[in-house]
């Protein structure tokens, strides 16, 4: 039972700062400030767009990874996981170097750098592993025999996919959406490098902190925490 001391220590280390923050949010009317509202709009809409793209590409990708064997499969899986392993500011540098480094796509630069679509690109980049893994794990948990039976009963491969497999992984799709959305809107390191403007909430929090100090950034942080907690509650 002495072990409980360690558990309680870790718990308090995380719990106390968060609960203190939520109980002393500062002047919440700051959340109505035009710049703050715009930042929330930017963050959430970029999150939605990036998550939708991740979903559209993630479903077929997850299905293939769960159901097919092919050359270099584990290499491809490793690459798709890689954004989780790369430091955040490095991700910004990687994306920027690539866009400016390859002549034929240089023109994309103006749509990405300091642009809404730059935020989407970063969110997508960091969110993909969460989406793909959730969906792949979902398909892996669906017994293949169920799909086989559906086919012997007259449903084509594509029909079986939509009638049987996809409905069975509903929960994995939801958690993929939440995880990749939450990962996206959390990002600040890569965003500072690629798209300082239009400001996302984490960037604004950083800016307010450096320009006006802790109290100026607290209410916005509380707003962001509440969104995260909501997503997190849905996930569980």
């Amino acid at each position: 039972m002495a072990m409980f001391v360690f558990l309680i220590a870790l718990f308090l280390f995380i719990f106390l700062p968060i609960i203190y923050m939520l109980s002393t949010p500062g002047d919440l009317s700051l959340l109505l400030d035009r710049e703050v509202v715009d930042a929330f709009k930017t963050t959430l809409s970029a999150g939605v767009v990036a998550t939708l793209i991740a979903l559209i590409f993630g479903i077929p990708t997850g299905y293939i990874l769960a159901r097919h064997d092919f050359k270099f499969k584990s290499f491809i899986e490793a690459i798709l996981d890689l954004p989780m392993a790369i430091p955040h500011s490095v991700i910004g540098i990687i994306i920027l170097s690539f866009i400016y480094g390859i002549d034929v796509i240089k023109f994309i630069g103006k749509y990405v750098v300091d642009n809404f679509w730059g935020i989407v690109v970063v969110y997508l980049f960091v969110g993909i592993p969460f989406m793909v893994n959730s969906i792949r794990d979902g398909f892996l948990s669906v017994d293949e025999e169920i799909e086989y039976v559906s086919r012997t009963l007259g449903a084509s491969k594509i029909r079986t996919f939509f009638e049987i497999s996809l409905p069975l992984i509903k929960n994995n799709i939801i958690s993929g959406i939440i995880l990749s959305f939450a990962r996206g809107i959390s990002e600040v390191g890569a965003i500072l490098i690629i798209a300082y403007y239009p400001k996302t909430v984490p960037v604004l929090i950083y800016e307010r902190f450096t320009s006006f100090g802790l109290n100026a950034s607290k209410p916005i942080s509380v707003g962001m925490i509440l969104i995260s907690l909501m997503l997190f509650a849905v996930l569980r």
Binding site: D143, E145, I146, Y148, V149, S150, R151, T152, L153, G154, A155, S156, K157, R159, E163, I164, P167, L168
Partner: protein, 298 residues
């Protein structure tokens, strides 16, 4: 009528080697130990696996390269694989819905098949709440509702206990109107259900024919799998061993199955299994007589 011609397939650790057989409108049981590749055979016929070579002909049509949805084959996998997001009714009706049958016809047919298999009371249940035996019947109903050209059963009783197994066997006996291909490792199932019987060991169909196949194993491997005693190159079924008074063998083990005892007798340097209703103890000496012997080819 199903005709399988020189079918070969390597899949994971399993293989089929040149499997050929033919069945008419009859109940065919293919018997083999676990891991012999029986499921691979079933999956090739269902169209789930593509054979490496060989032909599958169903009612005169070469279906070797048809996708499963175009074969009209009823398939009941080992774990039943009911659709977990649909209730029993929707599971059974699935094939008809896919075929866009009209609602009244679907209702009528589901009712009919549910009565036939005695599961009318389950129709509104969720599949998660079903017992193993109930799942088995629902899976059977789902496959039979489309009037398939053949029914494929993969170890239908391997996941249930002995009582349910006996009741499933009695349901399966009712299926008379279409050919059935049933693979199993269970001897009692083969004896009870099989009109045709195949013995399948290590990817090869080493015997195929009527019930006699079970009584006349061709080689040692088959004889051992069928539970025969092997004495001096001859195979003797345990039920053909008669335990008498005498001192030729020593009883080394006895398992009491109630109606009878299975005894293991050390005889001529090997262990002979036999059944008896006599009261015996370990260490007793007995006489042994063989009612029937089968010569083994190798």
């Amino acid at each position: 009528m199903l005709k399988v011609n020189n079918l070969s397939k390597i899949w994971k650790d399993f293989k089929l080697k040149n499997v050929s057989f033919e069945i008419d409108k009859e109940y065919c049981v293919i018997l083999g130990p676990s891991g012999a590749g029986k499921s691979v055979l079933i999956k090739c016929i269902a169209g789930i696996l593509k054979p490496d070579s060989g032909k599958i002909i169903l009612n005169g049509e070469d279906i070797t390269n048809l996708p499963p949805e175009k074969r009209n084959i009823g398939y009941v996998p080992q774990n039943y694989a009911l659709f977990p997001n649909k209730n029993v009714y929707k599971n059974i009706a699935y094939g008809l819905i896919i075929k866009k049958a009209n609602r009244l016809e679907i209702e009528r047919k589901v009712k009919e098949i549910a009565e036939f298999l005695d599961i009318t009371h389950l129709l509104n249940r969720e599949v998660k709440s079903l017992s193993g035996g109930e799942q088995q019947r629902v899976a059977l109903a789902r496959a039979l509702i489309l009037d398939p050209s053949i029914l494929l059963l993969d170890e239908p009783t391997s996941a249930v206990d002995i009582k349910i197994k006996e009741s499933i066997i009695s349901e399966l006996k009712k299926i008379k109107h279409i050919p059935v291909l049933h693979v199993t490792h269970d001897l009692a199932e083969a004896r009870t259900l099989g009109e045709k019987i195949g013995i399948f060991i290590n990817g090869e169909l080493i015997a195929f024919g009527d019930k006699d196949v079970l009584k006349k194993p061709k080689n040692k491997k088959a004889a051992e799998f069928l539970g025969f005693n092997i004495v001096n190159g001859k195979a003797i079924a345990p039920e053909d061993v008669i335990i008498e008074k005498g001192d030729e063998g020593e009883v080394v083990n006895i398992i009491d199955y109630g109606k009878y005892k299975k005894v293991f007798v050390k005889y001529n340097g090997c262990i002979v299994k036999a059944f008896t209703e006599k009261e015996l103890n370990i260490g007793d000496f007995v006489g042994i007589k063989f009612k029937k012997e089968v010569n083994l080819s190798n």
